[in-house]
């Protein structure tokens, strides 16, 4: 079991890609909202 401590910075660097998940969520929700606007309001 590796705990945060001396290698905390190393781990943070290793997992800094986690923000990509947030960006993916924004992208997915944007696509859904645009399509919903098109079929519920604009059409």
């Amino acid at each position: 079991m590796k705990l945060k401590g001396d290698d905390e910075m190393k781990k943070r660097k290793k997992f800094n890609k986690i923000n990509v998940l947030f960006i993916s969520m924004l992208a997915i929700f944007s696509i859904i909202i645009v399509k919903l606007y098109y079929i519920q309001i604009a059409k």
Binding site: K11, L21, F22, I32, L36, Q40, K43
Partner: protein, 371 residues
């Protein structure tokens, strides 16, 4: 008495529970129950509503139990949990019931259970354990091969059912995990290219059945496709569109009655018709809050095991939401994936809450020492 004491959460730990996530998830689940009632009450009375509420209560009890012990204990049992899931899938292969051409369900005491949902949890826990043991070094060929093997066993068994939707969910969970842990871009590109070539080969062979091909392609032009999936997609898009800005109102939807499975895979269409764009935006906001908070837990976890499990749940939610809402609004093929915490289905609800319970536990014990 000692047993009862063990069932109590330490006060200091109680303060660390992410109540916002719990409240938001319960809101989504209640919205799901209400929508299921609206979709089914005229034909089935309150049967589906009652069943979903019972599973919701059971799920919340399960979350409480999962918060009682340190999540690091799960790591010790990862091998058992993983292989239990695989054995469950094998049992399903021989004794499962075939519904809509796929053997995805097994009847246990009169309740239909979906083994692939439980195998998914086993796979995430096992990958987390292995990556933790490897100290995150997954670019080592031996380590990578080991991870691929553990991911492939349940995925092949699920594909054989055949359940394309769940296979895709598992694939994106694995992809999300290995990407975040830091798999080399060259390996990801090579892997994706190989999978693409394999898919082209499989598509042109007889492995994929004609009904599966129709399901996968009908979303491109549902109005031109007269198959059941094409009609389902066209009806679903029409239902979502009929909601307009504010929707027709609770129990006032009519269009959704034309969609089969409107209380499971197409529950989103029912919600869209009755609550309109505003209702749907509120639902997306609630999902957004959960995902944001789960990402935060993944970032702040005290170990790699916790981070990987949290990332697994986030990837699962992201892909399931995109796939389910996508097929409801005509931008994704129909694959029979439920909308997390919303769609009718005990297995789906219970396993989603189980994973959430484990991640809340990870968030609760993010500090190294809790006195």
């Amino acid at each position: 008495m000692k047993f009862l004491e063990n069932l109590k959460l330490n006060k200091k730990l109680l303060k660390e529970v992410d109540y916002i996530t719990i409240i938001v998830v319960i809101c989504i689940a209640i919205l799901g129950c209400v929508t299921i009632y609206s979709a089914t009450y005229k034909v089935y009375g309150n049967h589906y509503f009652k069943s979903q509420v019972i599973f919701l209560i059971l799920s919340l009890i399960m979350v409480y139990f999962l918060l009682l012990f340190d999540y690091m204990l799960i790591e010790n049992y990862a091998v058992i949990i993983y292989w239990a899931g695989v054995i469950f899938l094998i049992i399903n292969h021989f004794f499962g019931s075939t519904i809509n051409g796929a053997k995805c369900w097994i009847n246990i005491g009169g309740i239909a259970v979906q083994p692939s949902e439980f195998a998914k949890i086993g796979m995430i826990i096992m990958l987390a354990k292995k990556i933790d043991e490897m100290d995150g070094k997954i670019n080592n060929p031996k380590n990578l091969l080991q991870l691929i093997m553990y991911a492939a066993i349940p995925m092949i068994l699920i594909y054989r059912q055949p359940d394309m939707g769940m296979t895709m969910v598992n694939f994106f969970i694995v992809l999300g995990i290995v990407f975040i842990v830091g798999l080399d871009w060259k390996i990801i590109t090579a892997g994706m290219t190989s999978i693409l070539l394999l898919l082209i080969g499989v598509w042109n062979s007889s492995i994929i059945k004609p009904y599966q091909k129709t399901r996968l392609t009908s979303f491109l032009d549902p109005t031109q496709n007269t198959s059941s999936s094409g009609l389902q997609l066209a009806q679903s898009t029409l239902t979502v569109g009929s909601g307009g800005l504010i929707g027709s109102g609770f129990l006032k939807g009519v269009q959704f009655k034309n969609i089969p499975e409107n209380y499971t895979d197409f529950v989103f269409a029912v919600l869209s018709e009755e609550r309109g764009l505003i209702g749907v935006l509120i639902l997306l906001l609630l999902y957004g809050i959960i995902i944001y908070r789960l990402i935060k837990i993944a970032k702040n976890s005290k170990d790699i095991f916790g981070t990987v499990i949290s990332v697994g749940l986030v990837s699962n939610l992201l892909f399931s939401i995109f796939q389910n809402i996508g097929m409801n609004i005509g931008i994704m093929p129909i694959t029979g994936i439920t909308l997390p915490f919303m769609s009718y289905g005990g297995s789906s609800l219970l396993t989603s809450f189980m994973l959430l319970g484990i991640v809340l536990n990870i968030g609760m014990r993010r500090k190294k020492i809790n006195f």
